[in-house]
């Protein structure tokens, strides 16, 4: 968990590694848009499965799969349990009663706490959305050089300051994690007992004690790094001439992404118009069917 190698991009020769960073960023945007627009559980599942297949294609190591699995399981568990307990739409079918309305204290306060079947299903859909983005985020970071990401972001016209901040955050997150582990070790060596963190006040105190040294070191490093890249010619005068043109494969992938977004968006729009009774076109019946089932 605290090993920086587990988090950083790793050189590789797989198709995923070789895919242009600019295309990967477009895929990120497409996926982000897709998981918001799409409601169909089976399509969301397919998107998640495709993202995980990307990890297989990138030959993600077992240690990284384990890390990814932990994150995905926590996301799924958190989403499904919270939605199952707090689902407030109708109809809803209680599966389990956690706190009966007649239970002392908590019963009258909460009106009863249940696990709802519909909430679980809704939570699963939400979980697939967040897991898809999570899995793709890991895939992007593990297979793309920070420098390539930076170039990609600038290529897509994100202001260079924002691009640099975003990529620096990604680049140094593993280092910060590693240093956090060192700080915790140092605290152990100085006799800062873990039991002190058991109380809320102790937990806050320990969190600050850990935060200060990590933050101070991060700030010092950030200043050095910023000066280093500035003095290597990176800045507002950054020239795009050095960006190699997209390969045919990259262009095809981009065209495919664009086409998929436009088509899916149009289909979804038509379906929304039809579903709300605003507009109906008989010739689009197949589109409506497709949208209802897959979007």
């Amino acid at each position: 968990m605290f090993s920086r190698h587990l988090w950083e991009a790793e050189a590789g020769r797989t198709l995923v590694h070789r895919l242009d960073g600019r295309v990967k960023l477009v895929l990120l945007a497409v996926l982000g848009t897709g998981v918001i627009l799409i409601d169909s559980p089976r399509t969301l599942f397919l998107l998640l499965a495709a993202t995980l297949a990307g990890h297989l294609a990138a030959r993600t190591s077992l240690r990284r799969w384990t890390l990814l699995a932990v994150f995905l399981l926590v996301a799924i568990w958190g989403s499904m349990v919270s939605q199952a307990m707090f689902y407030n739409q109708e109809p809803r079918s209680p599966l389990v009663c956690l706190v009966a309305p007649a239970a002392p204290v908590l019963g009258p306060l909460t009106g009863g706490v249940y696990i709802y079947q519909e909430g679980l299903a809704y939570g699963a859909v939400q979980a697939m959305r967040s897991c898809t983005m999570l899995a793709y985020g890991f895939l992007l970071c593990w297979t793309t050089e920070p420098r390539e990401l930076l170039r990609g972001l600038v290529f897509w016209r994100l202001p260079y300051e924002l691009s640099f901040m975003a990529v620096t955050g990604l680049r140094f997150l593993p280092v910060v994690l590693s240093e956090t582990a060192t700080v915790i070790t140092a605290q152990r060596l100085r006799g800062l007992a873990a039991t002190r963190a058991m109380s809320p006040a102790g937990a806050v105190g320990t969190a600050f004690r850990t935060l200060w040294p990590v933050l101070a070191r991060s700030l010092r490093r950030a200043v050095t790094l910023a000066m280093s890249v500035e003095s290597r010619g990176f800045g507002s005068g950054w020239r795009l001439a050095a960006m190699p043109p997209l390969t045919a494969g990259g262009k095809a992938a981009l065209a495919g992404c664009l086409a998929a977004v436009v088509l899916a968006g149009a289909a979804k729009l038509l379906y929304v118009f039809q579903f709300n009774g605003w507009a109906h076109f008989a010739a689009c019946r197949l589109v409506y069917d497709f949208a209802r089932q897959w979007l």
């Binding site: 060192t182 060596l189 006799g191 280093s228 003095s231």
Partner: protein
């Protein structure tokens, strides 16, 4: 040679400060020069470097007066991007400046920023990596490189732009002696063969002095001396008064009255032999051992200790056995990866051996129980309290010890300050005080002198020595052979997880050939002593005394009685 860098009455004040960090500096550096800028910590050296490539005033909030010209053009009129093609800047810690995770990408970064074609970039990267000795490592992850290789990569990352000058801010402070000498040799070669102008900021004079011809000494934002290295070393007070360490060859020459002093071992030996042609080594008697007599009580014991980080990896420690008794100051030396830090972590109880036994005061070491205190290599990560006083008081045995340590380490004025906002030397002393306040039986120091100037090194070593004299044990990892020779009563040399040598400094540093296989260099005084006196000497004073004794015995030399 035409001047490449012209600094005229430069004054710079950071936005957060009231007094200038650089005050009226005027300096000229000719094309092809190799210049060392030195001075105590905080004297403005690094700020001056930033002015050379335009980070000051373009990227630093502050007030600048005066003028810096590069190749005749005012740096105010050029952008940092334009200046990056003329002056490359390398920082102290390669870990903080390496941006990419692949060697090729790191070197290509500056070229891409210059808008070059990919074909030209590929050729330039290959050529630059060959120049810095990293040929064939284009596709390697930067994490597979050693500390010295990372620093050479950081150098390549700016050299690729083919700048006319390169400025380096303490580039060898984070690397081991072999990495440091490889980097300095590389810089010297680039300077001689390619005519690259090199400006280097460093206070490890003993390593840099031999390669530079001109030294600029700074003090409180001003230039206190600017001239030939040999001339500066002829007036040693200029350096000693500013907390800088004289290179041992220089100190030997000065001690024997040989002016101008030599800066390398070979030159020193030749100079002394020339001055005293009939010097008889046998006439000199070996001085009494300086090793601290160890008390009887055994505080640390390791018996046949094996350790590996996971089942599939190789042993990091393989069969280490040793005992350390009260009062000993033990230096642990060896190349990076030899197992020094692992040994410390076994002693402080953070790691448990795979086989064998580690005992501290007769029991298994338990982390955080106060029996073992450790100061880490980066003290910043140990400081977590809002004030220096509270930092030292955290876990302190009593209040009195806090006041004593504040006074002893010169931190009284900073008692109410936020520890992480102090200077590097002050932060290290605060961390040391915080550990000592818990009154451990064993004090572990991991590279305690990295990035410290000599004055701070002396303070730290003095405190550690007093701790041992009071009945404790000090174990410190270091690459600094002069420190080990001067302050340790015992030196352990590790190689590939095993103890290669274990003994007093004189005994260990006499094994030059074996030390070289472990990546350890004895102090220059040892080599000079071997060459002139046929015995191992540990300090410049000892060499001088030995040579004078031998000289009197031989009745020769420039001052010999007729």
């Amino acid at each position: 040679m035409a001047p490449l860098i012209e600094i005229d009455k430069l004054t710079f004040t950071y936005g957060s400060r009231s007094s200038p960090t650089i005050a009226g500096i005027t300096l000229t550096v000719d094309e092809g020069e190799f210049v060392l800028i030195t001075g105590r910590t905080g004297c403005g050296k690094s700020t001056l470097l930033k002015a050379l490539n335009g980070l000051i005033p373009h990227e630093s909030g502050g007030a600048m007066t005066g003028r810096v010209r590069l190749g005749g053009r005012d740096t105010r009129e050029l952008t940092v991007q334009e200046l990056s093609r003329s002056v490359g800047l390398v920082f102290q810690n390669p870990e903080d400046q390496i941006f990419a995770t692949r060697v090729y990408d790191e070197v290509a970064f500056v070229l891409e920023n210059a808008g070059l074609d990919s074909g030209i970039i590929a050729a330039r990267v290959k050529e630059t990596l060959r120049d810095v000795g990293l040929a064939g490592k284009e596709d390697d992850s930067v994490h597979t490189l050693s500390g010295g290789q990372k620093q050479r990569l950081a150098l390549a990352a700016v050299l690729a732009a083919r700048p006319r000058a390169i400025v380096l801010d303490e580039p060898i402070s984070q690397v081991d002696p072999l990495g440091a000498s490889a980097l300095l040799e590389l810089l010297l070669r680039l300077n001689r063969e390619k005519g690259l102008t090199v400006v280097i900021v460093e206070h490890r004079l003993q390593e840099v002095a031999a390669v530079c011809r001109r030294i600029v000494l700074m003090d409180a934002g001003r230039i206190a001396w600017d001239g030939a290295a040999a001339d500066l070393f002829s007036t040693p007070r200029l350096l000693l008064d500013r907390g800088l360490r004289l290179p041992q060859p220089v100190a030997v020459c000065l001690g024997l009255g040989l002016l101008p002093p030599a800066t390398s071992i070979e030159e020193t030996v030749a100079k002394i032999r020339a001055a005293m042609p009939r010097l008889k080594p046998a006439a000199a008697a070996a001085p009494a051992t300086t090793a601290r007599p160890a008390a009887n009580e055994e505080l640390i014991s390791l018996r046949d200790v094996y350790f590996r980080y996971n089942e599939r990896s190789a042993d990091v420690l393989g069969g280490v056995s040793l005992t350390v008794r009260r009062g000993e100051v033990v230096a642990v030396m060896g190349a990076n990866g030899a197992g020094k830090s692992t040994l410390l972590q076994l002693l402080n109880g953070l790691l448990v051996p795979r086989a064998g036994e580690v005992r501290v005061r007769g029991g298994r070491p338990l982390a955080g129980r106060g029996q073992v205190g450790q100061v880490m290599q980066n003290p910043d990560l140990m400081l977590f309290c809002p004030t220096v006083e509270r930092e030292i008081a955290f876990g302190a045995a009593d209040r009195q010890i806090v006041a004593d340590l504040l006074a002893r380490l010169g931190l009284e004025a900073q008692a109410g300050d936020f520890p992480l906002a102090l200077s590097r030397g002050q932060r290290l002393r605060t961390a040391l005080a915080a550990v000592l306040a818990c009154r451990p039986a064993v004090l572990l120091l991991d590279e305690p002198t990295t990035g410290q100037d000599y004055a701070h090194i002396g303070a730290i070593a003095g405190l550690a020595g007093d701790f041992a004299a009071a009945g404790g044990v000090v174990v410190f990892c270091t690459h600094d052979a002069e420190l080990a020779a001067g302050y340790a009563s015992r030196v352990l040399v590790m190689k590939e997880g095993r103890l290669l040598l274990d003994g007093g400094p004189r005994q260990v540093f006499a094994r030059g050939g074996l030390l070289a296989t472990a990546g350890v260099r004895p102090p220059p005084a040892a080599a000079i002593g071997e060459a002139l006196l046929a015995r191992t000497t540990l300090s410049a004073e000892e060499v001088v005394a030995g040579v004078q004794q031998a000289f009197v015995g031989s009745g020769s030399g420039p001052h010999a009685c007729p």
